[in-house]
């Protein structure tokens, strides 16, 4: 896995999540990968070692678990693999 991304059910969720993560873990904003969704959206990218910490921060937040999803990304388009992280 090269990096992790979080996708969100709504744009507001994506913006809200950044407020919780800011200052806690390094992350970047990126467009949702085409491999994950055809729609347009904001996702949050971070390094795999921070996964547990990010999970905990969002679990303690006001965001409901069904409002976001984690993916592990390996490789680059067109050979990119996006695996859901349960």
């Amino acid at each position: 896995m090269d990096y992790c991304v979080i996708t969100f059910a709504s744009t507001n969720g994506a913006i809200q999540a950044q407020r919780y993560l800011k200052g806690e873990v390094p992350f970047q904003i990126m467009p949702v990968l085409r491999e994950i969704s055809k729609g347009c959206g904001i996702s949050v990218r971070f390094d795999p070692p921070a996964l547990e910490q990010v999970r905990n921060i969002l679990a303690d937040s006001d965001l409901a678990p069904e409002e976001y999803a984690f993916y592990g990304i390996t490789g680059h388009s067109p050979n990119l693999r996006a695996e859901p992280l349960s």
């Binding site: 744009t11 994506a14 913006i15 970047q28 904003i29 990126m30 467009p31 904001i42």
Partner: protein
Amino acid sequence: MSRIIDAKGQACPKPVLMAKEAITAGENAFTVLVDNTTAVGNLQRLAGNQGFDVSVSEADGVYSLAFSRNGEAPVPQAPVAAAPCGAGYAVFVGRDIIGSGDRELGTNLMRMFFYTLAQSDDLPASILFMNAGVKLPAGDEQVEEHLKVLADKGVEIHVCGTCLNFYGITDKLAVGTVSNMYDIVSKMQEAAKVITV
């Protein structure tokens, strides 16, 4: 004495078309007079493509380009008339968010714009930052990171010095060259198109 083609005052792509006409007519040596650097650049590229050597001299704002055939085979290319003037594209960033409306959303869009641009294969020749746009290379960590990648790939990054000074963030500039209106306008003129973000 070789023929002199006077293309002073002619708008792009006219000078190139006039030179092309002489080349097509089989002339081996001629001189083109123009009065702007964009035309000079375009004519130099034409010479390179058409198997000509060209030497440039300037006097009183008039550039004189002496063409001479060097025997190299012309590079096949699309007709000059169909080619855009200038080369490549420039990105002009005059604000620190994309669009008008919510600032937080606009910041996210701007970061995603540079994330995507840094990963693309079709890179701009230059990125030009003015007004609040200068806050991106001087304060937005994520955008700075993408700009460093772009700069490493050869993209010129020009940041308005007057604007950095106005916002009091000159010492925060993390990537790019402190630039001025002359350079920024000339980068726009050199580009085939300018995308304003």
